[in-house]
Symmetry: C2
Subunit: 498 residues, 2 copies
Amino acid sequence: MPASVVEDFGNGRSGLEGARLLAGGTAGPSVLRPLIAEVLDSLAEGAGERCGPLPRGGPSAVARRVRALVPDALPESGTGPVPALRTLVRLLAEGAADPADPLCAAHLHCPPLAVAVAADLAASALNPSMDSWDQAPAASELEAVTCAALAGLVYGPGGAADALMTTGGTESNQLGVLLSRERHGPGVRVVCGENAHHSVRRAAWLLGLAAPLTVPAPRGVLNPGALARALEAAGARPSEPGRYLVVATAGTTDAGDLDPLPAIATVARRYGAQLHVDAAYGGPLLFSDLLRERLAGVEQADSVTLDLHKLGWQPVAAGLFAVPDGAALRPLDHRADYLNAGDDSEAGIPDLLGRSLRTTRRPDVLKTAVTLRALGRRGMADLVERTCAAAECLADLVAADPEFELRSLPTLSTVVFRPAGAGDGTVAGIRRGLLTEGSAVLGRASLDGRLWLKATLLNPHVQPSDLSALLKLVRDAAGTHGTGQPHDTGWWEGPAPR
Amino acid sequence: MPASVVEDFGNGRSGLEGARLLAGGTAGPSVLRPLIAEVLDSLAEGAGERCGPLPRGGPSAVARRVRALVPDALPESGTGPVPALRTLVRLLAEGAADPADPLCAAHLHCPPLAVAVAADLAASALNPSMDSWDQAPAASELEAVTCAALAGLVYGPGGAADALMTTGGTESNQLGVLLSRERHGPGVRVVCGENAHHSVRRAAWLLGLAAPLTVPAPRGVLNPGALARALEAAGARPSEPGRYLVVATAGTTDAGDLDPLPAIATVARRYGAQLHVDAAYGGPLLFSDLLRERLAGVEQADSVTLDLHKLGWQPVAAGLFAVPDGAALRPLDHRADYLNAGDDSEAGIPDLLGRSLRTTRRPDVLKTAVTLRALGRRGMADLVERTCAAAECLADLVAADPEFELRSLPTLSTVVFRPAGAGDGTVAGIRRGLLTEGSAVLGRASLDGRLWLKATLLNPHVQPSDLSALLKLVRDAAGTHGTGQPHDTGWWEGPAPR
């Protein structure tokens, strides 16, 4: 970067002084170094201060703490970088629900790998924007090769398969529904199980389509027979293909269950329906030689959702939307003269605008590319297998304990259970009580007409002793607060925050 | 984090060894430290290797380099974290179009502030997800106070104004059109100038609406008289309010021009039309006492797009979507039992799902909150003013040079110009030639029926000498390659890449 110090616009500060504010260029890393040291110290201090998986005291205590430290989010004058980082990074760490803590196991909310987090820093510092080649020369090419490799994981390597980076399963599912609409017009009808992710319904709404035809899924998975009956009743037939889009789920949010993909693909084909598979959660089983057969059939889908910020240990966002042939993405092509003029494209400048519905776009691919290079497919498989094994261990502990009821053996890494004999209100109260105490973050799932506790394990390094500790917390909470008392949410108003 | 080393699932590695892979918890920062040292070294080395604003040789050379270093993006075995970071971060830096280089001035692609980049690291490491309180206790509250403050910048402080964090102007514009559709049904028609951002048209398409009614804008801004005539001709009337949504632009991508907002607001009101203002580029003028009057009228809009990854120096993404009253966001409310069950909401757990169309969502607010605290409103104003002053300086240099033609004085920080007498083909060729040489990144704009070079200045520390150097590069390129030769794109096939 030319370092001219001749004169300056504005307030007379020298350009070199000013340039110390920026993260980029050859000078950026030395500007970043002390600031990042402050961030790392503040992260460690904040985590130490928290002393558990999340802060004590519940939402009101956290809100008070934030508002006390940030009485004015847009002050007239600034504190300078280091004090601002110290205060707010500490606050964020102290007030985090940290997925790296084994007792934080509610959601598909993974503890990110350090290597991915470190790589992501480079994305922030260089700030490539993925909407035109001249904002992201190497980043856009790295995205192309990484997306092709990941699409090959789904559809087999070496073919025409391609994938787009997305903000997550919600955007990927939306793309699946959108491409279906563009192939077959706005009359296309989504057909999904009751167990499908809420984003499927939201996508239909957003895109101006009729609400999905929902097939009851009393056992938590989409039954192929029930799907066939629903398509039959709706008048679907192979002579009029494409009027319906079946959305199947490989890894439900509530229980980690897998819809039977081969049979669903057969039914979809028989009725001339398109097929999208939401494998946001279960997709990374494809890394594993041991587990990938559970995803058999996914390669028959017209499009697939897969998230690497779930069973892929990436910081958010690392969503993927895969198709068997990149040509299927053409409805997303879009022209904006300043970004992809025709003569520029003819001259060989890659056109990136059709690779997202966004325009400006962060190179989320970098962290994933670095992770895949660092760990390899086998390293990813190892993490997936260890995580699924941890869920089996937790299920065994639950099943062996007469104080608990296990809903079913885990399919992925989710364990659904409840204190034996507890009413729904008690279950909800236990969860909220643990949240308020700051002692554990557990999820909830409404299944089989009852409310359950849900442990979604995503920490590949969780130990059996951690799982025992988690169960002890639930057992103690259930013991203290009794069972069978519906709607005992008064517990929420418990001890005063520190 | 409990550090049990009792036994392990999987391949016999100890849990503590394994835990060294994760970025979170109290141990995370020390795991991150050496990896981040490698990233910073690689960033510096890559930038040094690049020796300019972007790599030499154009797309084919960059693609060859990437494919040589990444022959297999999903290898069977990994290299481990440090070698993977070294290779790919260096590659990304070496192959970046670095907006911190003063000769990188094509797009609304800002050089991020080091303080924002450092803060963003904490977001990656802690990985809060903004779709439920129990994944982001402090982060969600910090978002609430920061968004309210930024909405107050648009609509005045202390009121009911609120803002959502978005992935950028494209998503914000989409939200503006979506809320209009939800208020008034799918018959709503978008009316915008020819100068509106391409995402407005794309939003209408995505949401299943008719294509926008486009008002000619031969001077690059939306003329209120022409808008009134278009609304009149379309049959808009105040007795049937809401059938039309006028979209105005405060800062066009091509020239940084501002539509006359007060007059447009008056016209919209007279015809009972809703008003959305896309101030993705110009919005941050509101930080400045000197410049904010140029945005007068923006507070009359039903919704406003504003990006802090443009004139706000944030790494992508830092989009905002502001409304005068948070109640206007209610159509985005959404229920998913596992994230915002009714009894949890009643018990006081904040419901975050209506704050985005995404589900899983990175806390992009952190970097912005830290930046605002570090710099204050006045510090942001200073950066905005310096950047606009730099554009005035460049325009002066262009105007004083008979070899150049200046299109008009800059309104924000974009300067549109061309070598005097050059044909469109030459202009396009000059731009591509500079890109291929790796010497400068300039944009292009089709305005007044001709093709222009566009310098979008976003580096607040650019010096007059940098701007002179930029003009010299263009002058030399124009001299070497002649003028008036239409479509001389053969230059593209120029010197072999290094």
